[in-house]
Amino acid sequence: MKAVCWMGTSDVQTLTVEDPAILNPHDAILKITRTAICGSDLHLYDGFIPTMESGDILGHEFMGIVEDVGREVTNLQRGDRVVVPFTIACGDCIFCTKKIWSACDNTNPNAHLMEAAYGYSGSGLFGYSHMMGGYAGGQAQYVRVPFANVGPLKIESDLPDEKVLFLSDRVHGRRKRSDSRR
């Protein structure tokens, strides 16, 4: 697939990379239909965010059509049209049960890096440095969405993409606690 890769300060390129795959049972793969560049992408572009590495795929405002789901994903199926929020949240930790999604305890695989910088780790983010999880972002043809039961907001009306895309920087789809626990 084609993806927008951060290759260094003021150096962003559209490159051909591998397609994303389902890596965990709560993952979903989206085919991106619209994605936006955020003001906060400028911090990355200008090189102000530590732990960005060449090759990182950018993009945290995106929407698309569900292409594939992991076997524990219960509320999405192939063909659903969804907007995905910036913050990745598990839905099961104490912060998620209080809807403080951006403080999720369980979605940052590089939590030790964020601890070093902030004192305590928050949730993982799409396309926003290794410290924030190192997840590949959505300025690409396809994206992997972890914990897809929790974040994605289904768009079942005929509103055009441009009218709903910007929910991605704010809104969390999930409103009740996940029932996907062991």
């Binding site: 290759m7 389902i22 709560h26 030790h112």
Partner: protein, 219 residues
């Protein structure tokens, strides 16, 4: 407040600026050493599950490779004993093996263990305490190691030192217990990493395989 901001919640002070700071940022310093040469690590986590469930998950040692880093196999050899095989933390591909024995086993409350023979000299304890206000369980892990300071420093630079392994393992345990999976980015697409990107992979700890959580779906 000042103290809270300058301290990682389950580790030492954030490293100072300068060359040492740059090298160690994102790593945990080697664990403190007692007078008798024993290194020790203590960490804790608040897990939103009942103590009984967490005790069972921890006590099922053959499942340890699903959530403990570098552990490749655990075999139960008796009611209280088990045999452990682990990759060394320095990314060399070598394995170490040892036998472990449970010293104290209190269902739903805690487990204490010690190595009895083999390549690793370690002992540890985990305590499951009900947290107030229906907030699940406070899990506290205390582990001790005897290994050379040099080996510990080497692992600090190249992979994970024993302290970080314990802290990361508890994070994996929490994620597995609460969500049923361990967050991972290994295997996702990226563009060319170039020289610095490759060098920093080890610094970020991304050369250490994330445990699968046992439910990995083929991609």
């Amino acid at each position: 407040m000042e103290r809270a901001l300058s301290e990682k919640p389950n580790a030492e002070k954030v490293s100072q600026s300068g060359v040492a700071g740059i090298v160690l940022d994102g790593h945990y310093l080697p664990p403190p050493v007692d007078k008798d040469g024993k290194q020790w690590v203590r960490t804790s986590a608040l897990i939103l599950r009942p103590p009984s469930e967490l005790y069972e998950l921890w006590r099922d040692v053959e499942k340890a490779p699903l959530w403990q880093e570098q552990i490749t196999e655990v075999r139960v050899t008796g009611p209280k004993t088990s045999h452990w095989i682990m990759l060394t933390g320095d990314d060399s591909g070598k394995s170490i093996e040892w036998d472990s024995e449970v010293l104290n086993d209190e269902p739903d409350k805690g487990i204490a263990w010690s190595s009895v023979e083999g390549d690793s000299n370690n002992a540890g304890e985990v305590i499951f305490a009900t947290a107030p206000g229906e907030r699940g369980t406070i899990v506290t892990v205390l582990q001790e190691f005897r290994m050379s300071k040099l080996a510990s420093a080497w692992e600090t630079l190249t992979g994970r030192n024993p302290k970080q392994v314990i802290i990361e393992n508890l994070r994996h345990f929490k994620a597995l217990a609460e969500t049923g999976e361990i967050p991972r980015i290994e295997g996702q697409p990226h563009g060319p990493r170039r020289t610095t990107g490759k060098a920093k992979k080890s610094l970020y700890g991304e050369t250490i395989a994330t445990p699968t959580g046992g439910q990995r779906t083929a991609g």
